[in-house]
């Protein structure tokens, strides 16, 4: 029964916020510091060296835009999984989670294609500071996408049995954060030239 082991298993914390959700927001806040520090450093260097706009011309806007669409859609599918979990529609939830994991895979494949083209053109990690920032920021982001996919797969396995359904929301919160990071990386690295 869903009630016994699922969403209702969430324990209330401060101000009525479930403990797991509050803990996840703390994780997100610490991730904001990590990505925010990197992005802030990049922005400062872009201000100092406007010529970096020329390097940004070598990133692929169509592929970057496609990946943005992929991540925005994956945020939609994961929140639909959360909604389905709330109504006990476990099979629908499983399908939405699978779609989210699949979209994460598509994102990584496209990123790998981009990396391949860029490295073949000589734009490696050590080419200059712009490309160091590029690979650090997108690589760190990609590692978060992989971590999110693993988390979603583990949560899905349990949730399909009606266990720990609240974790669908928690994994989803993390996934949305990864999406928000990309929302800022895309204009920084692809559009601002």
């Amino acid at each position: 029964m869903v009630h016994a082991t699922g969403l209702a298993a969430q324990r209330p914390g401060l101000e009525g916020v479930p403990r797991g959700r509050l803990a996840l927001w703390w994780v997100i806040a610490s991730e904001v510091v990590i990505f925010g520090g990197l992005i802030a450093s990049y922005v400062l260097y872009r201000i100092r060296f406007p010529e970096w706009g020329e390097f940004a011309r070598h990133t692929s806007t169509p592929l970057g835009a496609f990946n943005t669409l992929v991540l925005l859609t994956s945020s939609f599918t994961v929140v639909m999984a959360h909604q389905a979990a709330g109504t006990g529609a476990l099979r629908a939830m499983g399908r939405y989670l699978l779609a989210t994991i699949g979209l994460g895979g598509v994102f990584l494949i496209v990123k790998a294609v981009e990396y391949t083209h860029e490295i073949q053109a000589g734009f490696t990690f050590t080419a200059n500071l712009f490309w160091s920032f590029y690979y650090t920021m997108t690589g760190l982001h990609a590692s978060h996408v992989i971590a999110g996919m693993v988390a979603l797969a583990l949560v899905r396995r349990q949730a399909l049995r009606g266990r720990s359904l609240h974790r669908v929301e928690l994994a989803g919160l993390y996934w949305h954060f990864v999406d928000i990071v990309w929302i800022f990386l895309f204009p920084l690295l692809y559009l601002a030239r």
Binding site: E15, V17, V32, I39, L44, R48, L72, M80, Q83, L191
Partner: protein, 107 residues
């Protein structure tokens, strides 16, 4: 359609609502298309400003609706906001060391 006959009612009363997620997603896609179109603007500075403005709107749409931040109490806003505060301290603390030093030292 539900997969379980006993699941016609929500199994838990959560305090956040479920907005029309399809509408939010469609709005995000429209904003993405708008960001790409802005690249064609002649005024580069204006285009970059608008593109980053749209990025903030997209982030707020995701955080507010998909992450349900709209419904969260002040405590969650404070937790989420402290990270941004630390980043702001970092940005303005490091700014003189990068932006206002000779170029050869900044490299």
């Amino acid at each position: 359609m539900s997969d379980h006959s006993s699941s016609s009612q929500p199994t838990v009363q959560d305090y956040h609502g479920h907005p029309n997620y399809r509408l939010v997603w469609a709005g995000l896609v429209v904003l993405l298309a708008l960001s790409l179109a802005l690249g064609a603007l002649g005024n580069h500075r204006l285009a970059v400003s608008l593109i980053f403005g749209l990025a903030v709107v997209k982030a707020l749409l995701v955080a507010g609706n998909f992450m349900h931040l709209r419904w969260e109490p002040r405590l969650v806003w404070l937790v989420a906001g402290w990270g941004l505060l630390v980043v702001a301290f970092f940005y303005f603390g490091v700014l003189p060391d990068i932006v206002y030093v000779p170029r050869q030292l900044a490299r």
